[in-house]
């Protein structure tokens, strides 16, 4: 069986479930009356919620004033049992910058740990851009071959070759190389920056940078930055 066959079968399952729900509720008030009932229910709850919120704020204000909880000298920091502060934020691993000339990765010094990570992505071009954090297997696909693959895609895009009909992805027939997979994807508006956050495994990574070409709105591969080792 192919993915499309399985997916369309699963879509039919959803349609059937909705149809059954519609039939089973047909003896009840009409669909529109159900909506009106839902709307009235929400409006009533909102009014009750506003009253409850006002009461809760009043009580909280009284408690804060009486206990002096806003006194900075009383503030405490949550500490894990072993005495270490609980890590609550992703670990920064560096910055990737896309410009009209290329894409560069400025990784932080030292061994970088896998897990929940954050990578700053800066779009210095005059159009929308996108970035993929891609893990690849150097024993099967070297960084140089990966970069050459993206370089070929860039030349195709610059030459105005369209994406092959029926091919998924912004590639001109070559597709994403084997032995590489995307773990984090982020789209960044022109002149803006964003933080790419996600959980990654130990391994070797590269950043695929995408941009638009010749006024098109289609994002296509432009350059590769890296490599980056995460332990």
């Amino acid at each position: 069986m192919t993915l499309d066959t399985r997916a369309r079968r699963a879509a039919q399952g959803i349609h059937r479930a909705v149809a059954v729900m519609e039939m089973s509720t047909s003896r009840e008030p009409s669909r529109l009356m159900r909506f009106e009932r839902y709307r009235d229910h929400k409006q009533r709850n909102r009014r009750l919620g506003a009253v409850a919120l006002a009461a809760a704020l009043t009580i909280a204000t009284v408690v804060i004033v009486r206990t002096g909880a806003l006194d900075p000298g009383r503030a405490t920091v949550p500490v894990a049992p072993d005495g270490q502060a609980e890590p609550i934020a992703p670990t920064g691993i560096g910055t990737v910058t896309l410009s009209a000339n290329g894409c560069t990765l400025d990784a932080l010094d030292g061994p970088l740990a896998a897990g929940l990570v954050a990578l700053s992505a800066v779009n210095g071009t005059d159009g929308v851009a996108a970035f993929d954090v891609a893990r690849f297997h150097p024993e099967e696909l070297t960084y140089e071959r990966f970069a050459a693959h993206i370089e070929r895609e860039r030349r195709h895009a610059e030459a105005g070759k369209p994406v092959v009909d029926g091919a998924y992805g912004p590639f001109t027939g070559l597709g994403f190389p084997k032995y590489a997979g995307v773990l984090i994807h982020e789209e960044v508006r022109r002149g803006r920056s964003a933080t790419m956050t996600g959980t990654v495994y130990p391994g070797t990574y590269a950043i695929v940078c995408y941009r638009t070409f010749d006024g098109s709105t289609e994002l296509r591969p432009f350059a590769l930055a890296g490599p980056l080792e995460l332990e």
Binding site: M1, T2, L3, D4, T5, R6, A7, R8, R9, A10, A11, G13, I14, H15, R16, A17, V18, A19, V20, M21, E22, S24, T25, R31, L32, F35, Y38, R39, K42, R46, V128, A130, V163, D165, G166, A167, Y168, G169, P170, G175, F176, V182, H185, E187, Y210, T212, T217, E218, L219, R220
Partner: protein, 183 residues
């Protein structure tokens, strides 16, 4: 990218109106679109109990702004964007679920029928994809929506939709051990 207005009602950011639409009544719009929108909520939330409430929330938001949204060329795209964002928000979904379970207990709400094991497995894998990939896959397969239209619903460039579709299909095919069809 769901925004929440003062009232806590979700709205679709940047759901741009195209030309003036047909200005149909909200009642006609609701009657036509409701089943498809509930289906989208069910596929993306995986919750039999809260799918209808997620859809109702989106229609309620549209109802409050019907003077404006009713004139959009595709008000259905606006509602689908709200649902797609609500349904993949874990926190929001849990809040809705808790409320609706209480209403089911007292008999004022109903749940959708359970899916077959195969279909459950498929949609569970879809929901385990990154948020945008899951939304694109659901719209593509549930509504046979072309890439350009998915882009309009989600407010994303066509190229990005193609990429999400490509990545999502490739991951799904791998996890479900299925062959990929050509485009």
């Amino acid at each position: 990218m769901a925004l929440y207005a003062e009232s806590g009602t979700p709205v679709a950011e940047g759901a741009e109106p195209a030309a003036l639409g047909s200005s149909e009544t909200f009642e006609d719009f609701y009657a036509r679109e409701f089943p498809a929108v509930v289906g989208l909520a069910y596929a993306l939330s995986g919750s039999r109990s809260s799918a209808e409430d997620i859809a109702q929330d989106a229609f309620l938001a549209a109802h409050h702004r019907w003077d404006r949204i009713g004139n959009y060329d595709q008000p259905g795209a606006w509602v689908r964007r709200v649902v797609a964002n609500l349904a993949v928000s874990v926190l929001r979904r849990r809040v809705v679920e808790a409320k609706v379970l209480a209403r089911i207990a007292i008999g004022t709400a109903s749940a959708l029928p359970e899916l077959s094991t195969d279909d459950l497995e498929f949609w569970r894998e879809v929901r385990s994809l990154p948020r945008r990939q899951a939304q694109v896959i659901a719209l593509h397969y549930l509504e046979d929506m072309p890439v350009a239209e998915i882009g309009r619903v989600l407010g994303t460039a066509e190229g990005t939709v193609k990429k999400h579709l490509y990545d999502g299909r490739r991951t799904l095919a791998g996890r479900l051990e299925l062959g990929e069809d050509e485009g």
